[in-house]
C-alpha cells in the first residue's frame, strides 16, 4: 500500500465523525492539529539545529557534535533540556508583561503561518484562497514580537537590535513579496493548493523561464534577510550588539526565540519550495513515462520535505560562507539592487504571462 498522509487524516476524520458529535469531532481535530503543530516545531527545532551544527562543522573542516549519544545525535536534546531547567531571568527595569509576552507572539506568528502550507497531497491545515497573501500578512506579526522584546528588555543593545531587525524585515519584505507576485501572475491564483496544482506538468523554476529564476534568487536572498540569518544577522551581531533583541532573555524564553528562528527558516523554505519547486509535486520529465511513474511512487510528503530541506541547506550554506554585511551595505542591497531588479522582473513576468510564453 502506498504511504499517504491524507489517507490517514481522512481515516481519523471519518472515525471521529462516526463516533462523536460533529462539534466534538471538530474540537478534537483542532486539538490534534495544534498538538501536531507543536510536535512538528519541537522536532524541527531538534533536527534543524543539529543539521546547522553539522553543516557548519563540515564546511569549516571540523567534525561537529559527535560525543553526546550516537554520532552526537542527542546534542540538541541536551541543549533543550538544559534550557528548560535553566533559570529564566526577567530584568528589574524591564516591562515585565511585554517582556514575557514577546517570545510567545513570535512563536504564535510562526505557528499561524503554518496553516496554508501543503505538507503532502491533500494534506493541509487550511487551504485558504489567499494563501500567499495570508503568509506575508501573518509573518509581519513576528516583527512586532521582536520589537516588543527589544523595547521591553530595557537594554540599549536590545532596542538597537530590535530596530535594526524591524527595519530589515520590513524592507526585505518588499522584494520577497514582489518575487512571490511573479508566481501569482503565472498561476493567476493566490491559494497555495492551486499554485501546487499548477505545477503538475513542471515546476515553475523549469517552465517559468528567466523571470522565475531571477525571482527565485531574489526570494532566497530576501527570506535569508527576513529570518535575520547571516550574512544579514546585523540584528544580533555579537561584536556590536551582544545578541540583539534577545540579549536579556535566558532559559526557556530564549529557547522560544531560538526555536522561532529555525521554525521561520523552515516556513520560508516551505513557501519557497511550494512556489518555485512544486511543493509536494514529484519531479516529472516530459515524456519519460517510466521515470515519471517511479517518481510518483515516492510519497508526496517526502518530496515536500526533501525540497524544503534542500532550500534550508542552501540557506545554511549562505550562512557559513559569507561574512556579515554592514548596515549600509544591507540597505544598498535592498533598495539599490533587489527592489529595482524585482520590479523590472515583475514587468517582464507580466509581459511573458500576457504573451502566454510559458508551458
Amino acid at each position: 500500500m502506498e504511504f499517504s498522509l491524507s489517507a490517514i487524516a481522512n481515516q481519523v476524520d471519518t472515525w471521529l465523525h462516526a463516533n462523536c458529535a460533529s462539534w466534538l469531532a471538530l474540537t478534537i481535530e483542532f486539538v490534534i492539529v495544534g498538538l501536531l503543530c507543536i510536535a512538528l516545531f519541537a522536532v524541527l527545532g531538534l533536527v534543524l539545529i543539529m543539521m546547522e551544527r553539522k553543516v557548519s562543522a563540515y564546511m569549516q573542516l571540523r567534525l561537529g557534535p559527535n560525543r553526546v549519544g550516537p554520532k552526537g545525535m542527542f546534542q540538541t536534546l541536551a541543549d533543550t533540556l538544559k534550557l528548560l531547567v535553566k533559570e529564566g531571568l526577567t530584568p528589574n527595569g524591564a516591562d515585565k508583561f511585554l517582556f514575557n509576552l514577546a517570545p510567545f507572539i513570535v512563536m504564535i506568528a510562526a505557528m499561524l503561518v503554518l496553516a496554508p502550507i501543503g505538507f503532502a497531497k491533500d494534506f493541509v491545515i487550511w487551504d485558504i484562497n489567499i494563501g500567499v497573501l495570508y503568509i506575508s500578512a501573518i509573518s509581519s506579526i513576528g516583527v512586532i514580537g521582536i520589537l516588543m522584546a527589544g523595547w521591553a528588555s530595557n537594554n540599549k543593545y536590545s532596542l538597537l537590535g530590535a530596530m535594526r531587525s524591524g527595519a530589515q524585515i520590513v524592507s526585505y519584505e518588499l522584494s520577497a513579496g514582489l518575487s512571490i507576485l511573479t508566481i501569482v501572475i503565472f498561476t493567476q491564483d493566490m491559494s497555495m493548493g492551486q499554485i501546487v496544482a499548477s505545477q503538475a506538468d513542471g515546476w515553475w523554476i523549469w517552465k517559468g523561464h528567466i523571470p522565475v529564476i531571477i525571482s527565485f534568487i531574489i526570494f532566497l536572498i530576501a527570506v535569508t534577510a527576513e529570518t535575520n540569518r547571516a550574512p544579514f544577522d546585523l540584528a544580533e551581531a555579537e561584536s556590536e550588539l551582544t545578541a540583539g533583541f534577545h540579549t536579556e532573555y535566558s532559559g526557556m524564553k530564549f529557547a522560544l526565540f531560538f526555536l522561532a528562528e529555525y521554525v521561520n527558516i523552515f516556513i520560508v523554505c516551505a513557501v519557497g519550495a511550494t512556489l518555485f519547486l512544486g511543493g509536494w509535486m514529484p519531479l516529472h520529465i516530459g515524456n519519460w513515462a517510466d521515470f515519471n511513474r517511479i517518481m510518483d511512487y515516492i510519497p508526496s510528503s517526502v518530496w515536500f520535505f526533501g525540497k524544503t530541506f534542500f532550500l534550508i541547506f542552501v540557506i545554511m550554506w549562505f550562512r557559513w560562507t559569507f561574512p556579515r554585511l554592514r548596515i549600509d551595505q544591507l540597505l544598498n542591497l535592498e533598495w539599490k539592487y533587489l527592489l529595482p531588479i524585482s520590479m523590472f522582473n515583475l514587468l517582464l513576468a507580466t509581459f511573458i504571462a500576457i504573451q502566454g510564453w510559458y508551458l
Binding site: R53, A57, Q60, L61, R62, L63, G64, P65, N66, R67, V68, G72, F74, Q75, L77, A78, D79, T80, L81, K82, L83, V85, K86, E87, G88, L89, E238, S239, T242, A243, H246, T247, E248, Y249, S250, G251, F254
Partner: protein
C-alpha cells in the same frame, strides 16, 4: 565550628535522598545533570593571551563543538560557563563580577591560565592585578599553564563535565580536600 562537624551538616542547596520516593528524584537529577554537562555554552570573554588559545580551541583542529561547547554566547544571560581567559586586573574585576551576576543559574566558571588562577607572573610586585579570579567570583575548574594548550582547555571542560555529572557542589569539593589534607 569544626570542619568535620561542618561536613555532617547539609549545605544550602544540597538535596539529601529521602527514605521514600528518592529514586525518581535522583534519576531526574541524573538526566538534568547529563543535559547540563553536555550543553555548556561558554560566554565570549577573553581579556588577554589565553583568549587566543580559547579561540583556537574553537578552531577546526581542536574543535570544541564535538562536545557541544561551540555555542559561544555573547550575552551572559544565555551562557552557562564563563571561561576567564586572561589577566583580571583591578579595573576588570567589577566587570567580571557583574557578568557573573548576570548569568542565569546554573553557572560555572573556569579559570584558564596562570593569571586567572593565581595572578601568575603578576603575583608579586604588581599593584594592578587580582591575584586569582577566585578572589572575585567562585571558580569551578582551574587550568594551569601560561597559556594552557587548547587541549588543556578541553581537558578542563571535560573535568567540569565530570563534576557536573557527579552532581558535586563547589563547597563539598573544597571541604573534602581540606579534610583529606589534614
Amino acid at each position: 565550628m569544626d570542619v568535620k562537624d561542618n561536613q555532617q551538616h547539609a549545605f544550602p542547596g544540597d538535596v539529601h535522598p529521602t527514605a521514600s520516593g528518592g529514586i525518581l528524584v535522583s534519576k531526574l537529577d541524573d538526566v538534568i545533570n547529563w543535559a547540563r554537562s553536555n550543553s555548556l555554552w561558554p560566554l565570549v570573554f577573553g581579556t588577554s593571551c589565553c583568549a587566543i588559545e580559547m579561540m583556537s580551541t574553537a578552531s577546526a583542529k581542536y574543535d570544541w563543538s564535538r562536545f557541544g561547547f561551540e555555542v559561544a554566547r555573547a550575552t551572559p544571560r544565555q551562557a552557562d560557563v564563563i571561561i576567564i581567559a586572561g589577566t583580571i586586573v583591578n579595573k576588570m574585576a567589577p566587570v567580571l563580577k557583574r557578568l557573573y551576576d548576570q548569568m542565569a543559574d546554573p553557572k560555572y566558571v573556569i579559570a584558564m591560565g596562570a593569571c586567572a588562577t593565581s595572578g601568575g607572573p603578576f603575583f608579586y610586585n604588581t599593584y594592578s592585578v587580582v591575584k586569582g579570579a577566585d578572589h572575585v567570583i567562585p571558580v569551578d575548574v582551574y587550568v594551569a599553564g601560561c597559556p594552557p594548550r587548547p587541549e588543556a582547555l578541553l581537558h578542563a571542560l571535560i573535568t567540569l563535565q565530570a563534576k557536573i555529572k557527579a552532581g558535586d557542589k563547589r563547597e563539598k569539593i573544597v571541604i573534602e580536600k581540606f579534610v583529606d589534607s589534614n
